[in-house]
């Protein structure tokens, strides 16, 4: 079949009109179409397919479709006989199939392929997430296992170090091993923190706390690092906050300690400054700004951009993975706070932690009838004045001296209203002198319950007789401490022997920890079972026995009976038990125990008992 001349001309015109095309291009298309009709040359079809694909425009596609339908309708009408009509119909169907139906099928295939690809992607993403979660869990588990093992290694290294049996090189190796273990432990803790933060497992633990006490703990944490850098000094400008706050103390401390440690790490000389300013907000909260600045190496702009990203470590010779600042930043966010930084390369950095925190719904400090005597030779700044006013508002009687001689005279002649607390802010050389004075005062019975405090003691010489030593300032709640909590050193020198019998090593360790800290001169013998304890009791005289009630083999009651059977007068025997039930207490009384010491250990109760025994032993 071949187009007639008038048909060619009509089609050229139609194409020109429909597609705003010039004559030559329209003729070219019609020639190509004619070639398809006459010689079955498929170039026309491919051109058409390409154009539709290339344009990707449904209006254009519709125009083409209309044009094809119109063209075949026209040719159908022009056909001379049925045979020609049939040829035209077949041709149209074939063209329509190839250009449109196939295209639709192809599009559908594409759509299906796209759906399959999407499914594969979804599946892969899911698997990836699962892998990541598993990895995180695995990291958390491994970190935990490592930390537990490292705790043990660290602990046993400390025990070897305590024994002081190693000499020379060996001692050095031990120190290096201890140091390396600590570093490793810190890294593992960092990884654990990041994992917990990423997986949202980090728990907020809120409690009431004093801000000044929290900052003292932070400073204590970097004290050893600071000691190693004699040219580096810490300055503090801590506003006094006369109430406790309610928040996540541990995590705030973690952020501050992280920044302070970094400041020490990156500053070799000059100073590190820690300041705290507060502002009460309208909703009864307090808005706190902790600012930590240093005169260290500072950061470039590029380094500043990545400071809070994980694994940013600028100078490779410094220790660590670079997770600390990332953790601090994430923690600040978690606490609804903000950690920001400003830095100048070569000059130092300033970190600011802004955080809102609730004011604790708290009772006042009870300082009624407390006598506080203070020597302040250094300064009377606003914070100091606020602290004194606060102590007086809480009922304390405060006597302040700025003259050393008057202060000493007062202490040597005081008869009534003996101070419960003597706080000294002196010059560096002054502290040594006062240490000797306190030694003398402690021999006088009237000072037996006085707590002697060294404040602002920024040096590394040891003081022997002060009860409390603070490098910058004392925590305000120190003045609310119960007088009986102050243990006198001369009492701790009384030599008594205690036998503790318990099958659980942890119980004995904790007991030993508490007793040896307060009473280094007490001899504490530990037995891990009833028979062992009886054996030890037979060969040594004890002033007190602590006996676990529930033990395998002989239980506490049976051991007590056997001790009684030995004949010699028994020292006070205390039941040591976590089962504080009435039936148990009655049984303990019935057996003739001197009393019961509860688990968990309540140190103050234990100390009272020990002091009573010391007192009896003394007399």
């Amino acid at each position: 079949m071949k187009l007639k001349k008038h048909q060619i001309e009509k089609l050229i015109k139609d194409i020109q009109n429909s597609f705003k095309m010039d004559y030559d291009r329209a003729k070219c298309i019609v020639d190509s179409f004619n070639n398809l009709l006459e010689n079955n040359n498929t170039k026309f079809i491919y051109d058409l397919n390409y154009k539709i694909f290339h344009r990707r425009n449904h209006k254009f596609t519709k125009q083409i479709l209309n044009m094809i339908v119109d063209t075949y309708a026209y040719l159908f009408e022009e056909a001379s006989d049925d045979m020609e009509r049939q040829i035209i119909r077949n041709h149209f169907e074939k063209l329509f199939d190839i250009v449109f139906i196939d295209r639709c099928q192809y599009s559908k295939q594409l759509e299906e392929k796209s759906k399959t690809t999407q499914k594969i992607l979804q599946h892969t993403t899911k698997r990836l997430n699962e892998t990541l979660e598993t990895q995180e869990l695995m990291i958390a588990n491994i970190s935990h296992e490592m930390r537990t093992s490292l705790n043990a290694i660290n602990g046993y290294l400390a025990i070897i170090s305590d024994k002081d049996v190693l000499q020379g090189e060996d001692k050095q190796y031990l120190n290096k091993a201890t140091h390396a273990t600590r570093t490793l432990k810190e890294l593992v803790s960092d990884i654990l923190s990041v994992t917990k933060l990423n997986s949202g497992q980090l728990e907020i633990q809120q409690s009431n706390f004093w801000l000044d006490k929290m900052l003292i703990k932070c400073i204590d944490n970097i004290a050893l690092m600071l000691q190693k850098k004699p040219k580096l000094h810490l300055r503090t400008d801590i506003e006094f906050v006369p109430f406790r706050v309610y928040g996540d103390q541990n995590h705030i401390m973690e952020i501050i300690i992280n920044i302070l440690s970094n400041a020490v790490k990156y500053t070799d000389s000059g100073y590190i400054s820690l300041s705290m300013k507060t502002k009460q907000t309208s909703n009864g909260n307090i808005s706190i700004s902790f600012v930590i600045s240093d005169t260290g190496i500072g950061m470039t702009e590029k380094q500043l951009e990545t400071i809070f990203s994980p694994y940013s470590r600028f100078k490779t010779e410094r220790q660590g993975l670079g997770l600390g600042m990332h953790i601090a930043h994430q923690l600040a966010k978690k606490l609804n706070g903000k950690l920001s930084v400003d830095s100048t390369f070569g000059k130092g950095s300033v970190f600011t932690l802004d955080i809102d925190i609730k004011i604790a719904d708290d009772k006042k400090l009870d300082l009624q009838s407390r006598n506080i005597c203070i020597l302040n030779k250094k300064n009377y700044n606003d914070t100091y004045k606020q602290r004194i006013s606060f102590l007086e508002e809480q009922g304390a009687k405060v006597k302040i001296f700025d003259n050393e001689n008057e202060f000493i005279n007062y202490l040597l002649t005081v008869q009534d209203n003996v101070p419960d607390y003597v706080s000294i802010i002196a010059t560096i050389e002054g502290y040594t002198k006062f240490d000797a004075l306190i030694y003398y005062l402690k021999t006088l019975p009237i000072f037996s319950k006085t707590i002697f405090i060294a404040e602002n003691y920024q040096q590394h010489m040891s003081l022997n007789y002060f009860d409390e030593i603070y490098e910058y300032f004392s925590p305000i709640d120190l003045y609310a401490r119960n007088k009986t909590q102050n243990l006198q050193k001369f009492e701790s020198r009384v030599d008594i022997s205690i036998l503790a019998i318990d099958d659980t090593e942890t119980n004995l360790d904790i007991l030993s920890l508490f007793i040896s800290k307060k009473y280094p001169n007490i001899t504490l013998d530990l037995a891990s079972g009833g028979y062992e304890g009886i054996g030890m009791f037979k060969i040594k005289k004890y002033d007190m026995v602590m006996l676990d009630l529930k033990m395998p083999g002989l239980d506490g009651f049976e051991v007590f009976n056997k001790l009684k059977e030995l004949g010699s007068p028994l020292p006070p025997v205390y039941a040591f038990s976590a089962d504080i039930y009435k039936s148990n207490i009655d049984k303990v009384e019935e057996y003739g125990f001197a009393g019961m010491i509860e688990k968990p250990l309540q140190p103050q109760k234990l100390y009272k008992i020990i002091e009573r025994i010391m007192h009896e032993s003394n007399n």
């Binding site: 930390r147 537990t148 043990a152 290694i153 660290n154 400390a158 025990i159 659980t504 904790i510 140190p603």
Partner: protein
């Protein structure tokens, strides 16, 4: 079981730290305490596959409770203590399995 160990390590450090002990001393005490706690938790796990023996189950739970208390983890200590009152020959497998799952 990891959670209780993690929790106890954290609490023990805070608890003993609050009394002002030196870090080294805390580290060694906690490490030994945790090692002992793990030992008794393993014993507890073994008990599921054994015939019920009240004294043994009670003693292991008592020891775990004691260690937890001594390390300052009173909450978990109290949970274990409660279980000691509830456990009997019929329910001990389920109770211990439940406890292990929770820990």
């Amino acid at each position: 079981m990891n959670q209780i160990i993690d929790r106890t390590v954290q609490i023990a450090h805070d608890y003993l730290g609050a009394f002002g002990f030196e870090d080294d001393k805390i580290d060694s005490t906690v490490a030994k305490g945790i090692a002992e706690l793990e030992l008794y938790l393993d014993k507890l796990r073994e008990l599921i596959n054994k015939e019920f023996d009240f004294d043994t189950v009670d003693r292991v739970l008592h020891t775990i409770k004691g260690i937890l208390f001594q390390l300052g983890n009173s909450d978990d200590g109290r949970s274990i203590d409660q279980l000691r009152d509830e456990v009997n020959a019929e329910n001990y497998k389920i109770k211990i399995e439940d406890l292990i799952d929770k820990l």
